[in-house]
Amino acid sequence: MDVNGRKEELAPGETVATLLARLGLEAGWALVERNGEPVERARYAEIELEDADRLVVARPVAGG
C-alpha cells in the first residue's frame, strides 16, 4: 500500500482509522485521500484498506 509515496505494510483488517492510529495520528486533523478520492471522516473506521490503495494523508498546517 502506498501512503504519501511510501510503501506501508497492510495490517490484517486495516482501516483508515487503524492506520492513522498506527501512525500516531488519531488526534488532530488527519485528512485522507484514497485513490484520488477524499475520504469522509465519518467513514475512517469502516473503510477497509487494500494492498493496491494509494493514500494521501494530509493535515492542517500554518498558512496565510
Binding site: W29, V57, P60, V61, G64
Partner: protein, 253 residues
C-alpha cells in the same frame, strides 16, 4: 452601533482575519491570534511528513475561531478543488480561501482558473472566499457565481507594501454586493486602517504580524487600527481639500 460582519449568513464581531503562517512558534501564533481578537484564521493543507510530523496547529487555536482552509500551493482550478474537498471530507469547515497561484515568483493569482474553481466549489456547496488581483470585473463575476466574499490583494503576498492599488479596490468596494476583504500586502496597521476607511469590510493579515519584532503587540496594533478605520468609515472621512485655516480669520490682536 451594531456593526457585525456577515459572511455567508454567519456573523463576526471582528473584521480582522489572520493568517497563521511564518510565526516562530505556535505559541506565539496562538497569543497573536488571541491579541488580535480575530474570529477567522486561515490554515494551509499539506501532506504529513511521517519522519517529522510536527505538532497539530489546530490544538493551538481557540475553540471559537473559524478555521479557514486555503488552497495555497495549488496552481490550477483542479488542484484547488481537490485540496478543498480533502479538507472538508476530513472534517474541516466547508469554507475555503481560494488561491490559485501559478506564479511562484510574484505569487499572483490566476483570474481564469480562480473563477473556474470558484464556480465548481460553490456548486459543490462550499463557502468560497477567492483571493484575486483587484480586478473589478473579475470581482463581479466571482460574486455572480456565488462567492461569499471577494478578497482583492493590496500588494503582493508578504511584500508589506500597503495599498498599491487604491483605485481598483475602491471600485470593487463600490460595486460589490458581498463583503470585500483586503488580503495580502498590508505591512502596517495604517494600511489596514486605510483599507477600512475606504469601505473594505475586513482585512486579512499574516506576514506583517508574524514577522514583526513583537508579533503579539503588533496583533493588538492591527486590531486597534481596523477598529479605527471602520469607525472612521462610519464617521465620514473628510475629502481632501484646499488649505483652510483652522483658526478664525481677522480679529488678530
Amino acid at each position: 452601533m451594531d456593526d457585525t460582519l456577515t459572511i455567508a449568513g454567519r456573523e463576526f464581531d471582528s473584521r480582522l482575519l489572520l493568517g497563521t503562517g511564518k510565526y516562530d512558534t505556535f505559541e506565539t501564533m496562538r497569543d497573536a491570534v488571541v491579541a488580535s481578537g480575530t474570529q477567522i484564521v486561515t490554515i494551509a493543507v499539506r501532506r504529513i511528513d511521517f519522519d517529522a510530523p510536527g505538532e497539530d496547529i489546530t490544538s493551538f487555536l481557540p475553540e471559537d475561531v473559524l478555521l479557514l482552509p486555503n488552497t495555497s500551493g495549488c496552481e490550477t482550478a483542479d488542484e484547488a478543488v481537490r485540496s478543498a474537498k480533502l479538507a472538508r471530507a476530513g472534517g474541516l469547515p466547508d469554507w475555503v480561501k481560494l488561491e490559485v497561484i501559478p506564479d511562484a515568483r510574484y505569487l499572483l493569482p490566476d483570474p481564469v482558473e480562480t473563477l473556474r474553481a470558484a464556480a465548481a466549489l460553490v456548486e459543490d456547496g462550499f463557502t468560497v472566499l477567492p483571493y484575486i488581483l483587484p480586478d473589478p470585473v473579475l470581482a463581479q463575476k466571482l460574486e455572480e457565481v456565488g462567492c461569499a466574499t471577494v478578497m482583492p490583494l493590496a500588494a503582493p503576498i508578504g511584500s508589506g507594501r500597503g495599498l498599491k492599488l487604491r483605485d481598483s479596490i475602491r471600485i470593487i468596494v463600490e460595486q460589490a454586493g458581498v463583503p470585500v476583504v483586503v488580503d495580502a500586502g498590508l505591512g502596517a496597521p495604517s494600511h489596514a486602517a486605510e483599507s477600512m476607511e475606504m469601505g473594505a469590510d475586513a482585512v486579512l493579515v499574516n506576514t506583517a504580524i508574524a514577522r514583526a519584532e513583537d508579533p503579539i503587540a503588533m496583533a493588538g496594533a492591527f486590531r486597534l487600527a481596523v477598529e479605527a478605520g471602520r469607525t472612521a468609515f462610519h464617521a465620514g472621512v473628510m475629502e481632501e481639500q484646499a488649505p483652510t485655516p483652522s483658526s478664525p480669520i481677522g480679529g488678530t490682536v
